[in-house]
């Protein structure tokens, strides 16, 4: 499933933990990792955050590996790219192909960028895997992010999951009718899918507005915050 990160965020040992502290930890660790830009620190933060995610939040190691592997292809490609095409300084290694060389400068870029991303990913993962989006938005709301943005965000979050179900059904229907058989038909099917979703979404927005209005919506969605169990 594509959105199992949302499921994980709702079902782990830390999902009831104070979201402000989680947001604070994430931002501080990210900023410190970027500011220090130190290889040893990158490794340390990677290990610490991974341990926190795996043992304290008790997230399945398979899901965690999957989370790490998502940006990995892009990361490896761009780092190799940095390694071979961003020469500066002394030549360390010659590939013998079209004069492409590895230099001190490019090796530095490659290693430091790779390690920095590896240090930052678990920090993002700590927030993404343990905190439901609604709580993140709620936090941002009390941190003076305009109310209108938070509201649109919350309404959006609701709608995304409704759409996903519909898309799933429609895509299956299209597939059973050979809708993705060739290149041209898949374009047609995808266009039909997207436009149908958009038209549905317009209807949905109307219904949503009526539903909100009829329940006395005045521009704010009060959310029940359950008391913590001791």
């Amino acid at each position: 499933m594509k959105f199992d990160m949302d499921y994980i965020a709702h079902h782990n040992e830390l999902s009831e933990f104070n979201p402000y502290i989680k947001l604070f930890i994430t931002i501080i660790t990210l900023v410190v990792t970027l500011v220090l830009d130190n290889l040893y620190f990158d490794v340390i933060i990677f290990v610490i955050m991974s341990v926190v995610i795996l043992t304290i939040a008790k997230i399945n190691y398979k899901s965690y590996l999957k989370f790490l592997s998502l940006p990995m292809a892009f990361l490896v490609i761009t780092c190799l790219f940095l390694l071979f095409f961003f020469g500066k300084g002394q030549v360390i290694y010659e590939t013998g192909l079209w004069g492409i060389v590895v230099t001190e400068g490019s090796l530095h870029y490659c290693v430091y960028t790779f390690m920095r991303v590896m240090g930052c990913l678990p920090c993002l993962g700590f927030l993404a895997l343990t905190t439901p989006i609604a709580k993140v938005l709620h936090c941002l709301g009390t941190l003076k992010v305009p109310k209108i943005v938070i509201e649109i965000g919350l309404l959006m979050y609701n709608t995304i999951f409704i759409f996903l179900n519909e898309i799933d059904t429609m895509q299956k229907a299209q597939e059973t009718r050979l809708g993705y058989h060739s290149y041209t038909t898949s374009f047609k099917s995808l266009g039909a899918l997207a436009s149908t979703i958009f038209l549905r979404s317009l209807d949905k927005s109307e219904t949503l507005q009526f539903a909100l209005d009829s329940r006395g919506y005045s521009g704010e969605l009060p959310v029940y915050e359950p008391k913590k169990e001791d």
Partner: protein, 221 residues
């Protein structure tokens, strides 16, 4: 393909955050004005944002077999204008970072700048220019979507070249442009075609809405 978490050095994260913040703040001001005038447009904005998110999670059939997705920012800009699209793109990018590990929090500012500001703004200018010249809106939306998608990646190349200026800024820019922008051309054409198909349906089923949003050329309205 957004810039990932931790990819940019800290000074560039801050610079892009500051630039994006100004534009997004203006967009929020615009949204507030729209919502004050017509309160029922809030749900429309939210649902359009969700549509942008969903569109970016659909896989575009691509020639190279790489995983690529439509940005949807050209369509958003043609419908709502660039400032509002910037705000929607900000929320979409935040969701993508937290729900899909796509992009990141530290690189959020840079990603907003490329996907939420440069792309939609260029798309919007092209769309307005074409419709002002009385070209049919279907052709206009193709070029708007094409350039919005392409310029998003050109902007990304600029950002990366500024962050990694080796051996020189221009050499870095050329390398990044070859990787990101040139390979993106077929995908941008794909997004253009997809957007035209969507637009055709909209034109057939909801012409009144498009006219109300002021998104049609004079002879169609």
């Amino acid at each position: 393909m957004h810039i990932m978490e931790g990819y940019l050095p800290i000074q560039w994260c801050i610079i892009w955050y500051v630039i994006s913040f100004i534009v997004v703040a203006y967009g929020i001001y615009q949204i507030k004005k729209i919502v004050d005038e017509t309160p029922e447009s809030k749900a429309l904005l939210a649902v359009s944002g969700a549509f942008m998110f969903i569109l970016s999670s659909l896989k575009l059939p691509s020639v190279t077999g790489s995983c690529s997705h439509p940005c949807g920012n050209g369509l958003g800009a043609a419908l709502f204008g660039p400032a509002v699209t910037a705000v929607l793109a900000t929320i979409v990018l935040l969701f993508q970072a937290i729900l899909l590990a796509h992009g990141g929090l530290t690189s959020l500012g840079a990603n907003i700048f490329s996907m939420g500001i440069v792309g939609p703004f260029v798309g919007w200018i092209i769309y307005k220019a074409f419709t002002k010249a009385n070209v049919s809106s279907t052709i206009a939306i193709f070029f708007a979507a094409f350039f919005a998608d392409l310029l998003t990646y050109v902007a990304t190349s600029f950002q990366l070249a500024l962050a990694f200026p080796a051996p020189t800024f221009s050499a870095a820019l050329v390398s990044f442009l070859t990787v990101f922008a040139v390979t993106q051309v077929p995908l941008a054409i794909g997004e253009g075609i997809l957007t035209v198909i969507i637009w055709d349906r909209l034109l057939a089923y909801k012409p009144k809405l498009l006219a109300k949003l002021n998104a049609l050329s004079p002879n169609e309205a």
